[in-house]
Symmetry: C2
Subunit: 454 residues, 2 copies
């Protein structure tokens, strides 16, 4: 007989996790929220749907093709494709009600109808933080961002990463000095390919652009400056005094480096990199990229920078800012495929009660007491054999089960069994609660990323 059921399919490019994977994802998101909150950022939530006119104020080209846009009644609607444009709208619309600098984080879904392929998502989470000033914003904010990136990745369990820092004014000023300012965009695009295509090919492409071989060498030496951060600063100091933009960028970068040190970020986790530029028409000062050292193939996992004017399409008010973004869904996907997480460490409850008596009152009263002690507690209510109940506990990665039979109830005791070790203890609820809490604390303190193989 043919079934008339509808196949329960999920759209391609739309991530849908199994329960234990979702627990891991929530933990990752929780680490991000916790770090951002530690620095005094407000959470923000904005609509997923907006007037197309608002979201498309700036967009064009690729963005326009990828967006989810439709009419409902007379209204032209678009699903947001990033969190920056909605932020611009929000700040412009509420400028008189906000206190500046306005620091907000947002972890939310965005939509892009990209070509579906493995690891590419059409619905995905971005995790953004931004600090927005009213008219002006101190450069010292730019030094706080690497500290936030550092806390984020170390608290996730990643230690061997490098925050690459540059300042767009240094690049612009340098090309001014070289007399190549008209070609800045093209040159940077070529230089950006250095790691992919190698030094010789880059020089060849630069020469094709009518850059002299000597200038091509100078450019490559500049963007490839080696040594400590101080040495890299010293290396380009020969250009000081020749161009105002360069000098401003140099001072900003020196200040940022000075204060990153005060924030306590280890020197091994950040480096000046004169080759990074990020979005060519958006950022105007400090720019950041973050590489996981053992996995350069992932690309930057956290990027951003300083911009002069957040909301120029919506307001005359000048709103400079600095921010970074993590492509959370993609990062989670990549880490999952690397088996960086130990899913078996994650369970929806800290303890599962297996009642072995007809009447469940004792089990229920025990569950309430455990919850009051802060332990996430599930009772297995179904009438199954003990073996099936244990199989459920194993399948759901329960750290332990509480076995409550007639003997336990009569004696006012409980029996706990830890599933990993097989250890079994019968004692008062108070003693057993302590044992479970110790086990749970250990799990909570563990980093969500366990195996970077680095």
């Amino acid at each position: 007989m043919k079934s008339n059921k509808i196949a329960p399919k999920t759209l391609p490019g739309f991530m849908e996790l199994l329960p234990s994977e979702q627990l891991v994802f929530e933990k990752v998101a929780q680490v991000l929220r916790s770090v951002y909150s530690n620095y005094g950022f407000y959470p923000l939530d904005t609509p997923i749907l907006e007037y197309s006119q608002i979201l498309m104020a700036k967009a064009g080209g690729e963005t326009e093709k990828q967006i989810y846009r439709f009419n409902k009644g007379d209204t032209d609607l678009t699903m947001r494709f990033d969190l920056t444009v909605p932020l611009a709208k929000y700040v412009a619309g509420h400028a008189n009600e906000l206190a500046f600098p306005f620091k907000r984080y947002q972890i939310g879904k965005v939509y892009r109808g990209e070509r579906a392929q493995r690891g590419r998502f059409r619905e995905f989470y971005q995790a953004d933080i931004d600090i927005i000033g009213d008219g002006q914003l101190s450069t010292i904010n730019d030094a706080e961002i690497p500290s936030i990136i550092y806390d984020t990745f170390t608290q996730l369990g990643i230690k061997d990463f490098t925050i690459r820092i540059n300042n767009r004014k240094i690049l612009s000023g340098f090309f001014n000095i070289m007399g190549l300012s008209e070609n800045t965009v093209d040159i940077l695009r070529i230089v950006d390919k250095l790691e992919k295509i190698g030094r010789d090919n880059v020089i060849e492409e630069l020469i094709n652009l009518k850059v002299s071989p000597e200038d091509a060498e100078t450019i490559l030496n500049f963007v490839n400056a080696k040594g400590s951060n101080q040495e890299k600063l010293d290396y380009i100091s020969i250009y000081k005094g020749k161009d105002e933009v360069f000098d401003a960028g140099f001072e900003e970068l020196a200040l940022v480096l000075n204060y990153i040190h005060s924030f306590g970020v280890p020197e091994s986790n950040y480096t000046i990199d004169y080759s990074i530029a990020r979005g060519l028409d958006y950022y105007t000062g400090t720019v950041y990229e973050t590489m996981i050292n053992a996995h350069p193939e992932i690309g930057s996992v956290c990027s951003g920078g300083r911009y002069d004017n957040l909301a120029e399409y919506y307001t005359d008010r000048k709103l400079p800012g600095v921010g970074i973004s993590i492509g959370l869904t993609r990062l989670f996907y990549v880490l999952s495929t690397m088996k960086a997480f130990e899913e078996s460490n994650f369970s929806a409850a800290d303890v599962m009660i297996i009642p072995m008596t007809e009447d469940l009152s004792y089990a229920i009263e025990t569950s309430s007491a455990l919850r009051k002690s802060g332990l996430r507690t599930q009772i297995y209510f179904e009438s199954k054999k003990v073996k099936q109940k244990m199989a459920y506990a194993n399948k759901t990665n329960m750290p332990c089960v509480l076995l409550l039979g007639e003997d336990e109830e009569a004696a006012g005791r409980v029996t706990v069994k830890f599933l990993e070790t097989g250890e079994q203890v019968t004692d008062t609820l108070e003693v057993v609660t302590g044992l479970i809490q110790a086990c749970t604390d250990k799990k909570h303190q563990a980093y969500v990323i366990q195996n970077m193989n680095v």
Copy 2:
């Protein structure tokens, strides 16, 4: 001069909160997540967009008119209008990978293009929990739900609420016994209006439905049973033995009441109410509504019940369940208009550092130490007068500021000023950290709902 700016408008019916309001909303959502987790529910996240064929499997009438549905390329897409249909798809699609009973909570946005009016939202959060069984699900799960509702509302700070409980089988069985089973739907619809239109009008409408005056009296007496829960059970026990469906419902309700007591829910917070039926074609057993006693005009703030078959449109597998839902955005809106929250208790940071020296190293190092102690710490980096910095701290509801001048730095001390009391203390960072933590702990322990005026 005419501005060429686009007005930064948000769509009507789409809630967008100011920062301090958003902090309150997050706290409310956090209480819900915490309670649901305490009972061992998995978090779940499903796409906001799905194939229209999936979401519209059952829908019709009002739903069809209200949905956000559109084509992208050849694909017919719909934005989810509840969290139940996506859950059904999810469980049907992953049935072989899930462990049953599957307990999940989901707090997510849903979309309904209702007529825009005050307090009605087109994008809004629902907070759902469901327990799904494979083939069968113990009735004792139905007794756990009121305990979860109780924890949710008491932990939010609402004490005077009533969970109304009924069982659909009791109603069906009663109407079978009365020989009125064909009119059940119409009768319940009329009885449901009792509070609105009064007893006499209900009787009149029942008589118009060709119910005899005597039967109308009997129906009204039945659904209006008074007294303790035990008395209400006793009151209808005269119908026992006359109809199988009635008897099953009676046994279920008695069992549920027995175990609600074990869960420790106070008798004053739940009551049998034979008049409630909820969605007439969906629920098949226990049903719940939750009323805030001083505000009946809000209607039920948390409703749900037992259903026989979650995913019949997608699978032959029988998946019975029990669940409840909170219309979170609407509830938040209603509580806000009642001024139930103390927004001034909420700040994005626990302490703001105001540096009073040119060099900010001491301020930055102090901030890192505070964050390590678990205090959310913001530094005010901008070059403004101290008065403006204090105005910022006040506007953002900071509990306290840390004033760091040359004297403090030279002596290795810090000065804290608590904004509510004006109290100012200069001491070591360790001592001051303790003071701030005490202040913060007090705020964290406070209920998010402070003024129900009940």
